[in-house]
């Protein structure tokens, strides 16, 4: 029997820096029950130093952590922890990510195209959940891939674009887990 877990993002909005309760309180999503389903992937790579770190989270709470120079490890998170981190992403509207729309908002603010940051880290995020809903927005199966360079600079340049803050928040979540579950040196 399919067990559906409903996460109410509004209850967790305080965990999502930059999110306002009024805009995110309606967001809901279903965590897939297939235990092998990858629900969140965060990979940060420096094209300059080749340093890479990643966190792959599955719907059953299995978390694979990896960082350059350390052995990969696997830890187990609670179902509540899975909901919590996905709620942080939802509160920043990352499950609605539309790269073209984000670029249009940047262009509207700047009035002209701007260059990215040379040598900035690159972050790739994958989000995958079942039904997602916020206000009039309903998505049956969320499968988002977000790939940008210089997320931290983007967050400070465009504080009004909450998706950038959300990406930085997910990186901070990954870094916290990497610190919480340190790996052995390779």
């Amino acid at each position: 029997m399919r067990k559906i877990v409903m996460a109410l993002v509004g209850l967790l909005v305080m965990m999502a820096p930059g999110a306002s309760a009024s805009e995110s309180s309606e967001a809901t999503f279903l965590v897939p029950t297939d235990p092998s389903r990858l629900v969140l992937s965060v990979v940060v790579m420096s094209p300059m130093t080749m340093h890479q770190r990643s966190a792959l989270l599955y719907s059953d709470g299995r978390l694979e952590l990896e960082r350059t120079g350390e052995n990969a490890r696997e830890v187990q998170l609670s179902r509540g922890a899975v909901q919590s981190v996905l709620a942080r992403a939802a509160a920043h509207h990352l499950m609605e990510w539309d790269g073209a729309a984000v670029r249009a908002r940047m262009l509207r603010k700047d009035g002209k195209p701007r260059l990215g940051v040379s040598d900035a880290n690159h972050v790739s995020v994958i989000l995958s959940v079942d039904h997602y809903e916020r206000g009039s927005i309903k998505i049956e199966s969320v499968d988002r891939t977000i790939s940008i360079s210089g997320a931290d600079t983007a967050k400070s340049r465009y504080p009004e674009i909450r998706e950038f803050a959300g990406l930085v928040d997910l990186i901070a979540w990954m870094d916290q887990k990497l610190g919480e579950f340190p790996g052995e040196p390779e």
Binding site: R53, T68, G69, P113, L115, S118, S149, D175
Partner: protein, 352 residues
Amino acid sequence: MRRLLISALLVLQGWQGTALAGTFVGADTDPFEPYVVVHSPGYDGTGGVLEVGIYADRKAQPSLERAITVWNELQRSVQNCTSCRLWEQGPGTSEEPSDLTTVLIHELGHCAFGLDHTNWVGPGATPSSYTATRDASSITNGADGFIGTKDDVVTPLPGARLIHWFRKDTNDPLTPTEFTVDSSTYSRRIIDLPAGSSWPANGNFVVGLVLLGYDGPGVPVTQAVMYSVIDRPTRYFGLAADEVNTVLFAQSGLDEIAGTPDDYTVELAYVADCADAVIEVQFTELMEGSIGQCSPDLESLAPPGELAVYHRLVPPNGERLLLELNSSADWGFLFDDGFEAGNIGSWSGSEP
């Protein structure tokens, strides 16, 4: 000799990737066009000497001054790099501190001259050692089996856009011969590639070994400083021909003809007062894995309504171009006031 070279390079064969060459920032970025030419900050189409002041705190000053000297000399050198690594090799295991001068040489290429990386970033934002190319879906080694050389195979064609500039006569980014660099000798058009070339070669050190020969283990190699990867022990001692050629091309001015009134040269100079600086070098907390970054903007030099080919670097905030160094990176400093770099001012009156 040939056998030595081949054995040294065998491990580098077979990777998927692209080659890198002299490129300008923006060439690989929508909505800028692939044919952009980027000029140093302050250039307005008037020829002469352009002075670019750079400020850094005391900790970075000695390294900055060394990096400034390298760029002001603008010499094509060989064997300019030790412990160079290609992206495909992955990070080394050395725990040596990163070299501030090396990182500053690379970052000044972005911040002061508008140069971009010479290598291709492929699908999934994965860097490679193939030549910087726009809109390519794949690049593979050509018949010579080496990455980034002139016979690499780029897909799709038509479709992939050439953004790496090259010598029309040789398509050789690393041999340090003197020549007049302007539109008569330097190009990014595919029809200008010399016979035997399918794509521009880039300045990664494998291309250097192929073009300049292999002088044995431990001998420095030749690599463009604008290659994107800087491993912890990597040290650059000078520029390669590639970046010198590309800077000289820009300095042939808006008419792209050397020897005309709009030609210019750039004189970088350390300035003690940040208010006088065009570029500010700043230690700041960057994300883990970063060592340095530069965040310029581009301003078109074209009159309104005309195609925006020529740009100059401008600061995003209207004040100074920011060159950031990661304060959390291991730079080998024990103290934070430049003491180890020779600045003993703060100790002059202290005991014992």
